[in-house]
C-alpha cells in the first residue's frame, strides 16, 4: 500500500517533527510512504477568506501533485476536509471529476489508520497518560471524525479526560485569527478556562494547536501541546 503524505504548509514549517512521526507511524504499520515534492498549500486560507480564484489555482496545483497517489494522508483534518469536501465543488469540468476521485482516496491520519488500515491497537506507549483531545472543527464536522483519534489514544493506554469545550472551536479559523484577533483569543480562552488538568493537550490539527498554545503562552500558562501524529508514534514506541 502506497501513501502520499501531504504535510500541508503549516505542517512543513511548524510541525515538521509531527510530520516525521506520521511517516514513522505509517511505515511501522506496513505502508510505503511517499512525499511528492511539488506539494505546497491546499488553498484553504484563500478559500475561507473568499479568495476563490486563488483557492482554485492552489487546488488545481494540488490535484496535479497528487494525481498518481494511491492514498493521500494528511496530519490535518482541516486540510483533508478541503480536499475531500471543498475541491469537488470549487473546481469545474475535468478538474471537478479529478477532484472527486482524489476525495475518495484522501484521509486525515487517524481516520486512515482506523478506517483504511483497520488498526485501533497501536501499542501501550501512552499508558497512564492524561490527555485532553481537542476536536478540530473540520475533522469533526466536515469529515465527521470523532471516535477514531480517541480510540487510538485509549487503545494505547491514554486516559482521555472529559473536557467541557472539547468540541468547540479554538478560534483559529485561518485569517479569522488575525482579522478579529480579540474575538479569536476569547474563543481560545474559553477552551483554556475549561481545560482539565492533563499531561498533554492534543489534536489532529496544527492550526488549532498553534492557536491554543499561542494563547496559553500569552496567558503565561505552561501547558504541553503535541500534535496527534507525535502522540500516536509515541503509542507505538
Amino acid at each position: 500500500m502506497r501513501v502520499a503524505l501531504f504535510a500541508t504548509c503549516l505542517g512543513d514549517r511548524l510541525f515538521a517533527d509531527a510530520c516525521a512521526d506520521a511517516v514513522r507511524l505509517l511505515r511501522h504499520l506496513g505502508v510505503t510512504v511517499e512525499f511528492p515534492r511539488g506539494q505546497t498549500c491546499c488553498g484553504q486560507p484563500a478559500h475561507n477568506a473568499g479568495h476563490v480564484d486563488e483557492a482554485r489555482r492552489m487546488a488545481r496545483h494540488t490535484l496535479d501533485v497528487f494525481a498518481d497517489a494511491e492514498y493521500v494522508v494528511l496530519p490535518s483534518g482541516s486540510c483533508a476536509g478541503m480536499l475531500r469536501h471543498t475541491y469537488p465543488g470549487l473546481l469545474e469540468g475535468a478538474h471537478a471529476d479529478q477532484a472527486r476521485l482524489l476525495a475518495g482516496r484522501t484521509f486525515e491520519l487517524s481516520q486512515f489508520v482506523v478506517e483504511v488500515l483497520g488498526v485501533t491497537d497501536l501499542g501501550d506507549g501512552l499508558e497512564g497518560r492524561r490527555v485532553a483531545y481537542h476536536h478540530g472543527c473540520h475533522a469533526l464536522r466536515s469529515l465527521r471524525i470523532h471516535d477514531e483519534p480517541l480510540a487510538l489514544l485509549r487503545g494505547a493506554g491514554a486516559q482521555v479526560l472529559p473536557w467541557e469545550a472539547d468540541q468547540e472551536c479554538c478560534g483559529f479559523g485561518g485569517l479569522f485569527s488575525v482579522k478579529l484577533p480579540v474575538v479569536s483569543a476569547g474563543m481560545a480562552d474559553r477552551k483554556l478556562d475549561t481545560l482539565p488538568p492533563v499531561d498533554v493537550v492534543t489534536s489532529s490539527d496544527g492550526g488549532c494547536l498553534m492557536q491554543l498554545s499561542g494563547r496559553a503562552g500569552r496567558r503565561g500558562e505552561a501547558i504541553p501541546f503535541r500534535h496527534l501524529a507525535s502522540l500516536l508514534w509515541e503509542a507505538v514506541s
Binding site: 514549517r13 475561507n48 468547540e168 488575525v178 478579529l180 484577533p181
Partner: protein
C-alpha cells in the same frame, strides 16, 4: 448616540470582550442551557427527518411565494382582516401611522417581534408622541434600559439576574435581593395597566398559513395573547418569508421551532389568529391589520445562493451554539439579527457593503449548520458572501495582493519552500509595525514555534 451599525463590529466586540467579561459569562451560560435543552428535545423526535421535511416545505414556499402570498391575502381578507403590502421600512411605518392616526391611538402594547426591530417601529411611534410598551419580560427589561435585543429569542440574554435586580430596584423600588419571581410579579403588575390602557397591539408572526390565512404566534408568557386580543386594534407585521402552505404544516413547524429555540415540545402559549372579533365573540380586536413586509426579502429571493437564508424560522439555535456569538452576545453585530444567521441575512437585507464585516465574523466552525432546524447551509453562505466581498473590493488591498502572491508562490514549489524557510527569520515580536497581520497575531498570542528544520528538509535527509 448614533445607531450601531455592522461596521463597528470589530471594535465593539473587542470592547465587550475586554471590558465586559460579565456579558460573555451571562451569554455563554444562557446559550449553553438553551442548547442543552435543544439536544434533549431533538432526541424525542426523528430530528433528521423533521429537519429534511421543514427544509423542503420552506423551499417549496419560497419557490412559489407569489402564489402562496396571494392565497394568504385572499383568505385573510375573506375573514375580515385588512392586508397591506410594504416594500420597505418606510412604507411599513407609514401604513402603521395611517392606522394609528385613524384610531387616534395614544398607547401601544407590543408583543416581541424581531421584524418590528428591523423596521424601527418603536422609534417611529414614539416620534409621533405615542407611548409604546414592550410586554415580553426580556423586551420590557431592555426597553427600560434603552437597549436593542441581544438575541432573537432571549433579548436580555446579556444581562444577569443581578443586573435586573438593580434595574428594578432603581425603577420600582424592589429590594436588591428580590427573587426572579418577585421581579416578574412586579413587571406583571406594571404591564397589566399598560395592557388595559392600550388602544392598539402590535405583534410579529412566527408563521402564516396560506390555505386558511392563519397567523401563528408562539410564546411563553401570555403577553402576546393579551397584546393581540385586548386592544381594539391589532397590527401584525409579517415578513414575506414567514408563510407555510397549509394550516396542517403548523403542527410540525411550531414543534420544531420550539424544540430548537428553547427545547420545549411546544411553546406554553400558541395563538392561532384567523381574523378580528366576530359577532357574538367575547374578545379579540375589532380590527386586524396584517402588514406583509418585503424590506429586501425579494432581492434575497432572487439570489440563487443567498435565498436559502430565507428559510430561517428565527429559533436562535445557531446563536446558541456559536462560539463567536457567545463571546459578546448580539449587540456588537450592530444589526437586529446577530450571530451566524445575522451574518448571512445582513448582506442580503442591508446590502453587502453596509453589512461588512459580518460575513467574516465567523471561524467557519460549522456548528450552526448542525443545529439549524431548516438546514440552512450557513457556513457555505458565509463563504459565498466573503467571495462576493472580495469581488466587490471590500477587503483590504494588502490582503488581496498578499493572497495573489501566496497563490502564485504555491504554484512554484521551490519558491514556496524558500518563502516558507524564511518564516524562521521573521522578527515576530517586532513584525507588527511592518506587517499588521503579525501584530494581530502576537497582540493576543505568543508567536508560533517554527520548526528548526522543515519537514521537506527532514525528508531529504531521510527519516529514521
Amino acid at each position: 448616540m448614533s445607531a450601531p451599525r455592522p461596521g463597528g463590529y470589530a471594535q465593539a466586540a473587542a470592547d465587550a470582550i475586554r471590558n465586559h467579561p460579565e456579558v460573555r459569562s451571562a451569554v455563554t451560560a444562557a446559550t449553553r442551557t438553551f442548547d442543552t435543552h435543544r439536544v434533549e428535545a431533538w432526541k424525542e423526535i426523528d430530528s433528521d427527518r423533521w429537519r429534511d421535511w421543514a427544509r423542503d416545505v420552506k423551499q417549496n414556499v419560497l419557490t412559489h411565494l407569489d402564489r402562496y402570498l396571494e392565497e394568504a391575502e385572499a383568505r385573510l381578507t375573506q375573514r375580515g382582516a385588512h392586508v397591506h403590502w410594504a416594500e420597505n421600512a418606510s412604507e411599513a411605518l407609514d401604513l402603521l401611522a395611517r392606522i394609528t392616526e385613524r384610531h387616534g391611538v395614544k398607547r401601544v402594547v407590543k408583543a416581541k417581534s424581531m421584524l418590528t426591530e428591523e423596521l424601527g417601529v418603536n422609534a417611529s411611534l414614539e416620534a409621533r408622541g405615542i407611548r409604546v410598551r414592550e410586554t415580553d419580560l426580556g423586551e420590557y427589561i431592555i426597553q427600560l434600559l434603552g437597549q436593542p435585543p441581544s438575541h432573537i429569542v432571549g433579548p436580555a440574554i446579556h444581562l444577569s439576574v443581578d443586573d435586573c435586580r438593580r434595574l428594578f430596584h432603581e425603577r420600582f423600588g424592589t429590594p436588591l435581593d428580590a427573587t426572579p419571581d418577585a421581579l416578574a410579579a412586579e413587571a406583571r403588575r406594571a404591564l397589566r395597566a399598560d395592557f388595559l390602557a392600550a388602544d392598539l397591539g402590535i405583534s410579529g408572526g412566527n408563521f402564516l398559513a396560506a390555505d386558511t390565512g392563519t397567523l401563528a404566534l408562539i410564546e411563553n408568557e401570555g403577553n402576546i395573547r393579551l397584546s393581540t386580543s385586548t386592544p381594539r386594534v391589532h397590527v401584525a407585521f409579517v415578513g414575506l418569508e414567514k408563510l407555510v402552505p397549509r394550516l396542517a404544516d403548523l403542527s410540525g413547524f411550531l414543534q420544531l421551532t420550539s424544540r430548537s429555540a428553547t427545547g420545549q415540545a411546544i411553546g406554553t402559549f400558541v395563538s392561532l389568529i384567523t381574523g378580528p372579533r366576530r359577532t357574538g365573540e367575547p374578545d379579540g380586536p375589532e380590527e386586524l391589520h396584517v402588514i406583509l413586509v418585503d424590506n429586501g426579502r425579494t432581492r434575497v429571493l432572487a439570489d440563487t445562493k443567498a435565498w436559502e437564508a430565507l428559510r430561517c424560522v428565527r429559533c436562535g439555535s445557531c446563536l446558541n451554539i456559536c462560539p463567536v456569538y457567545r463571546q459578546t452576545g448580539g449587540h456588537p453585530y450592530g444589526y437586529t439579527y446577530s450571530g451566524p444567521i445575522g451574518a448571512i441575512l445582513a448582506p442580503g437585507l442591508l446590502g453587502l457593503e453596509e453589512a461588512m464585516p459580518l460575513p467574516f465574523a465567523s471561524s467557519l466552525c460549522g456548528a450552526c449548520a448542525d443545529v439549524c432546524p431548516v438546514r440552512i447551509p450557513i457556513p457555505d453562505l458565509l463563504l459565498y458572501w466573503r467571495e462576493r466581498a472580495v469581488e466587490a473590493g471590500l477587503v483590504p488591498g494588502l490582503e488581496r495582493a498578499g493572497m495573489k502572491a501566496y497563490a502564485a508562490a504555491a504554484e512554484r514549489p521551490a519558491l514556496f519552500g524558500a518563502a516558507a524557510a524564511s518564516l524562521r527569520h521573521i522578527p515576530w515580536d517586532r513584525g507588527g509595525r511592518a506587517l499588521p497581520v503579525l501584530g494581530a497575531w502576537t497582540g493576543e498570542r505568543t508567536p508560533p514555534a517554527v520548526s528548526p528544520t522543515s519537514f521537506r528538509a527532514l525528508w531529504k535527509k531521510g527519516i529514521e
